[in-house]
Every structure is written in structure tokens, then in C-alpha cells.
């Protein structure tokens, strides 16, 4: 028994050492980024990471943050709440500020730890409805869903007065049903009848029966709140079953990814899609970003979330420089609060694509865009604010 107790004490001691914290940072700004670098959404995690690393390179090339270099420290959570919570617990002791986690299940498991520790962690890719639960220790990069999406769908539907009734395909994932509800509200305000919603299982592989069910309702317009690949397959099925008015199909922003285009191909021609990045905007930073992204991603254009953590790192830089944060470990709590307060109400922030303001952690004047897809490329239809 004595031996057993001895072994247990040794194991606990070793574990305590193993989980000790990293050294305090004073000569280099280290910004941990809790991201999904492996697992089912590793492809998204890769370009989020790429955006943050690219920002760090740019910042360091122009003198760093307050004269010190910045380093993004990638931390893989593998879309696993179990791993995400331990990783967040590791970084909250010493880190000044962090980025991530990604996506919602890991946010929900790990963000309460950041909140408890009073450390800001920027969840730059989730909807306001998730982010605001952890205010003031994060900010939202997206305006309130209902307000943002209602405006977009109204703008789209007004283009086509012949749309009298519409159907939505919805995957019941996280905030997406809430986004679909915002679409419905906008359509109803335009006196467009919203027919039955078609629920798309998260793991659906065949879409014929779902499309038949939707077409039986005889809609004039269709909105897709699904993954990109699913949206492409639904559009193909719609075409196969005689759907002609391709611009009467609206794809929501989260589906605007590489899989939409690689799966949909020419069948997407004419389909409209909304997003909050516009590849046609031209400014020196965005042009350089697009060129570098294409170089590292087989010529592809940046995906919808690619600039988010680029902007997040720049917002951290601005917060540190404008508030005089020193990185002194003895002032950790005070300086964490300074960064959080600054970011929550930053004014005229110079984002990669456009400037915007924040009020209490919520962006107030970010534009959205509606595009029409032609030959795998998006052509701007209108900007919506």
C-alpha cells in the first residue's frame, strides 16, 4: 500500500509540473490562437491561421507592436471541447490576450475559462449571439444576426418582384436556425409567403427527396442555409428537376467556401450569394493579401472568414499601442482590461477591406454584399448596409 501511495504522489507531482504555465512574455508579444488545425474543419482552421500569421508577418515587417515583434502561437483544439478547455486553461494564467477559440462547441467549453480569468479572447468567426454571452471578454465581428440578415434578404428579394413565396433549406447547426428565422422575418415584411422549411440533416449525402419536397410547395425563391457542399448539391438537384431562375436562389454566407464552387461548378451560374467580404474591393493591403493567399492556396481567392483573424491581430495591435499596454506581467489584469475595453469600442478601425466602428463589442457599420456567381467567380450585385 505504501508503494501505491508513493506512486500516486509521484504521478500527481509530475502532472502538476507538466501542466505548469509558459514563461511570461516581455520581449515579444505572444498571442495564442486556439484554432482547429486538425479534425473535421481543419481546412477552415488552416486559412484562419494563415490570415493571422500573415498579419503577424506584416506587423513585424513594419516594426512590430510598440516596437516589439509579435508571434501568433497556434494551438490546436481539434474541434474537441475536452482539448479546448485544457488548452484555454493553460494560456489564461500568463497570456495578455488570445484569439479564438473556433468554432462554437469549443467556444462554449473554453470561453467561460477566459471570462473567469478576465482575459480577452477574440472569437472573430462566430455570430454575435454566441460572442455576446462572453462580453466583455470578447467582441463580435458580426452585427446582430436579425438586423444584418434581414437587410440582406430584403435587398435580394426586392430585386425580384416575382418572388411571392419562398422556401428555405436549413441545417440545424448552432446559430443557423436563428439566421434562417431572420430571413423569414424579412420575407414576411415584404409580404412574401414563407413556405415550409426543409430541414437538412447535418450529415445528409443525398438531396433528391429534400428537393422534391421543396419543389412540391411551388416556391418562386429559395434560400440555402447549409454547408457549401450541401448547397451545391441541392442546386444541382434543383437544376436537374427543372429549376430555371437561378438568381432566385440565395446562398447564405457560411456556405460561400471552396466546396461550394468545386462541387457546384457551372451549375452555380446565376445563383446569388451573400457575404461580408468583397474580392473586387481594391486597396494595397487587401490586394497584397489576395495575392499572397492565392500564392499559398493554388491560386484560390480568400474565403469568407480568411480576413477575420488578420483583422483581429491588427485590432490587438491597435489596442496595445493606443492604450500604452506594456506587457509587464505585474500589470496583467489591468492591461487585459485595457485591451478588452479598447476593442469593445474601437472607432474607425482600419480593417483589411473597410473601416468600421464598434459599440460595446458590436460592429455598427460593416457592409454586406450580394454577388452573382458566374463561371466560379462572384460578380458584385449590390452592397448592403
Amino acid at each position: 500500500m505504501k508503494r501505491l501511495i508513493g506512486v500516486l504522489v509521484l504521478v500527481l507531482f509530475a502532472a502538476a509540473l507538466g501542466f505548469g504555465q509558459a514563461k511570461a512574455v516581455v520581449n515579444e508579444w505572444q498571442v495564442p490562437f486556439l484554432n482547429c488545425l486538425t479534425g473535421p474543419i481543419a481546412a477552415i482552421g488552416e486559412f484562419l491561421e494563415w490570415g493571422a500569421e500573415y498579419a503577424a508577418k506584416e506587423i513585424n515587417a513594419s516594426g512590430g507592436i510598440a516596437g516589439k515583434p509579435v508571434k501568433v502561437v497556434p494551438i490546436d483544439t481539434a474541434l474537441d471541447p475536452q482539448k479546448g478547455s485544457v488548452e484555454m486553461a493553460r494560456i489564461v494564467k500568463d497570456s495578455l490576450v488570445a484569439m479564438g477559440p473556433v468554432p462554437e462547441p469549443v467556444i462554449m467549453a473554453a470561453m467561460p475559462i477566459a471570462v473567469e480569468a478576465g482575459m480577452m479572447s477574440m472569437t472573430a468567426t462566430t455570430s454575435l449571439e454566441y460572442a455576446q454571452k462572453f462580453f466583455p471578454w470578447t467582441v463580435s465581428f458580426l452585427p446582430p444576426t436579425e438586423q444584418r440578415l434581414a437587410t440582406i434578404v430584403t435587398a435580394w428579394a426586392k430585386e425580384f418582384p416575382d418572388i411571392k413565396q419562398a422556401v428555405q433549406f436549413v441545417v440545424p447547426y448552432g446559430p443557423w436556425p436563428g439566421m434562417a428565422a431572420a430571413h423569414v422575418k424579412a420575407l414576411q415584411e415584404l409580404n412574401i409567403q414563407v413556405l415550409g422549411q426543409v430541414d437538412v440533416p447535418d450529415d445528409a449525402v443525398t438531396f433528391g427527396p429534400l428537393v422534391v419536397k421543396a419543389l412540391e410547395e411551388k416556391p418562386d425563391g429559395i434560400i440555402l442555409v447549409t454547408h457549401g457542399e450541401q448547397a451545391a448539391k441541392i442546386i444541382k438537384e434543383l437544376k436537374n428537376r427543372g429549376w430555371k431562375k437561378m438568381n432566385h436562389i440565395l446562398v447564405f454566407s457560411s456556405a460561400d467556401d471552396a466546396q461550394l464552387y468545386s462541387t457546384g461548378g457551372a451549375d452555380l451560374n446565376g445563383v446569388q450569394v451573400y457575404n461580408y467580404i468583397n474580392l473586387d474591393i481594391s486597396n494595397p493591403r487587401w490586394d497584397a493579401f489576395k495575392a499572397a493567399f492565392a500564392k499559398d492556396h493554388n491560386g484560390m481567392a480568400p474565403f469568407s472568414l480568411a480576413p477575420n483573424y488578420y483583422d483581429a491581430l491588427y485590432m490587438i495591435k491597435e489596442a496595445i499601442e493606443k492604450t500604452g499596454v506594456t506587457g509587464d506581467p505585474s500589470k496583467l489584469a489591468e492591461e487585459r482590461k485595457k485591451i478588452a475595453d479598447y476593442c469593445a469600442n474601437v472607432q474607425n478601425f482600419h480593417g483589411l477591406l473597410f473601416n468600421w466602428d464598434m459599440k460595446d463589442g458590436i460592429p455598427t457599420n460593416k457592409p454586406n454584399y450580394i454577388f452573382e456567381i458566374q463561371d466560379g467567380k462572384k460578380k458584385l450585385v449590390k452592397e448592403v448596409r
Binding site: 502532472a15 481539434a78 474537441d80 478547455s85 486553461a89 467549453a109 467561460p112 448552432g174 446559430p175
Partner: protein
């Protein structure tokens, strides 16, 4: 206690309990994945009780155990003596049904999830102490009960059912009652574990209860050893803890390493790393005694 160590220990305890919740029915060759659904049902129910009805945590936890056990009992009346494959199908179906029901229940947050579960004991430190104390008390109690079960007539009956159900039945073992017992016990453990799992994170999201958990618990049981409860105790902390200490370059290969490890163990050591014989030799070593040698007549002469 460092915060990462708290999360490591608490999640490890849940993994041990849940792996035991699968181990127990596997004693009669049932892979009872309904336990994952039980975690979600009891967890969300307890969360609702605490958040919306302001029921004290203790009662909510007790409700979680009871709800888990009740669902396990009702289902076991139908599949207590079903073949392994049927039990697996019922488990997967139950997970799908549970997810769909929760997705459509706004009272528990629907697809968004449930945020802001309160600190038990009023502050974060007390919360952590209470959660760890409950979890490890559960590990000790459940471990002791399973140990007693394994060494009882019921445990030997379960082993007989595992090896040959028909032969076991011919020996007078009531397969259905035995199956019902282990399934109900397993679901009770899962119910309580689900409540504590959510209170570790202070939130509930449907993606906390995915098929990935089935993979984790199955790996723990089959790598650790499915013939003794100690395999789980040894392997659960290693499988969860070691990847956290690895450099990120190696962590990227974590899933491949798990897969290769599982294949290797199934091929080379199908009983897993920890076998009953190995446990006996450790017991002998720790007690400081040497096993008495059987001295043959030839040696005496």
C-alpha cells in the same frame, strides 16, 4: 491547483466513468452507446432545472442519475437480452433521436446550446473543488461497485454470457435480467456523468455529445483492456493527457497514432494492455508478498 490540471483531472474522471459505463454492459457483450444520449438528456435536464427552475445543484444531479437509470431501465426491458448488433443500433438511433429532440427544444437553447451554468458553491474555486470531489467520489464508488460485481457470482455469470450466451442460459443464468441490470447501471452512471460534464464547462452544446465520444471511450476500453476495470483507469488519463503534452507537430498526428495504436492492440494483444493476469501480478507486487509457488511432488523428492 493549476487550472489546466483541474480540467485535465475532471475530464479524465468523466472519461473513466463513461468508459466504465460502456465496460459494464460489454461484460455481457453489449456495446451500449445509448449512454452517450443519456449523458445529453440528463445533462440538459439538470441544466434546465438549475438555470430555469432554480433547483439546487444536488437535486439536479440526483435527477440526472435517476433520469439516466430510468431511461436505461425502460430500454433494457426491450433489449436486455438482444444481440450485440441490435444493442449498437438502438444506441446510435437513440443518439440521433436525442440530438433532434434537443435541437427542437428552445427551453434548453435548441441548436445554440445552454450558456452560463452557475458556479456550485458560489465561486469558481469552490465550484472546482466540489466538482472534483463529486467526480472522484463517483470514480471510487463506481469502481468499487464494478470491482465487487466482477468478483461476484453475477460477474462470473456475465463472463459466461460473454463467452457463450446459449451455454450460459443452459446453466440457468437469466440473460435478460443480467442484461437489464448492467444496462440500467450503465445508464445511471452516464446520466450523472453527463450532468457533471456540462458543469465542468459551465455550458451545454449538442456537439459535446457526439459520436467522437464513442470513439474515445471505445479506444480507452479496448486499448486498456476490456476484461478488467483497471484498464480504463490506466489508459483514460494517458490517452487524454499525453497528447496535451506533445509538441504541436506530433499532435497533428494524434488521430493517426490513436488509430494505429488501436489496430496494433487489437491484432497483437486483443485483450488490451491490462489483463486480469497483469492486475493480479501488480497486486502481488504492491502487497510486497510473493505468490506461493506450487511445489510439485517431483521437486519435493
Amino acid at each position: 491547483m493549476p487550472l489546466p490540471l483541474y480540467y485535465y483531472l475532471s475530464i479524465t474522471a468523466v472519461n473513466i466513468l463513461m468508459s466504465w459505463a460502456l465496460y459494464l454492459p460489454y461484460r455481457v457483450a453489449h456495446l451500449h452507446f445509448i449512454t452517450i444520449a443519456n449523458m445529453a438528456i440528463s445533462g440538459y435536464a439538470a441544466g434546465y432545472l438549475v438555470m430555469s427552475l432554480h433547483v439546487p445543484f444536488g437535486w439536479a444531479l440526483a435527477t440526472g442519475f435517476i433520469l439516466g437509470g430510468l431511461i436505461g431501465y425502460v430500454v433494457s426491458r426491450f433489449i436486455g437480452d438482444a444481440p450485440t448488433f441490435a444493442v449498437v443500433i438502438v444506441g446510435f438511433t437513440f443518439i440521433f433521436i436525442t440530438r433532434t429532440v434537443i435541437q427542437n427544444l428552445p427551453a434548453v437553447g435548441g441548436t445554440m446550446g445552454m450558456f452560463g451554468l452557475p458556479n456550485i458553491g458560489g465561486n469558481p474555486e469552490s465550484h472546482r473543488v466540489i466538482i472534483l470531489a463529486i467526480l472522484y467520489a463517483m470514480v471510487v464508488v463506481v469502481g468499487w461497485l464494478i470491482h465487487r460485481f466482477d468478483h461476484s457470482r453475477l460477474g462470473r455469470a456475465a463472463s459466461a454470457v460473454f463467452v457463450d450466451p446459449d451455454l450460459a442460459a443452459s446453466l440457468g443464468i437469466n440473460r435478460k435480467k443480467l442484461g437489464m441490470l448492467v444496462q440500467t447501471a450503465s445508464c445511471t452512471i452516464a446520466g450523472g456523468s453527463g450532468v457533471l460534464y456540462g458543469f465542468i464547462y459551465k455550458s451545454f452544446h449538442l456537439d459535446f455529445f457526439t459520436f467522437a465520444l464513442v470513439g474515445i471511450f471505445m479506444t480507452v476500453i479496448f486499448v486498456g483492456g476490456y476484461a478488467t476495470l483497471w484498464g480504463t483507469v490506466v489508459i483514460a488519463p494517458i490517452l487524454y493527457g499525453v497528447p496535451l503534452l506533445l509538441p504541436s507537430e506530433i499532435q497533428e498526428w494524434r488521430v493517426v497514432i490513436y488509430g494505429a495504436l488501436l489496430i496494433l492492440v487489437l491484432v497483437l494483444k486483443p485483450e488490451g494492455f491490462i489483463t486480469p493476469r497483469f492486475v493480479r501480478s501488480i497486486e502481488t507486487f504492491l502487497s510486497g508478498k510473493r505468490r506461493k509457488r506450487n511445489i510439485s511432488l517431483k521437486e519435493v523428492t
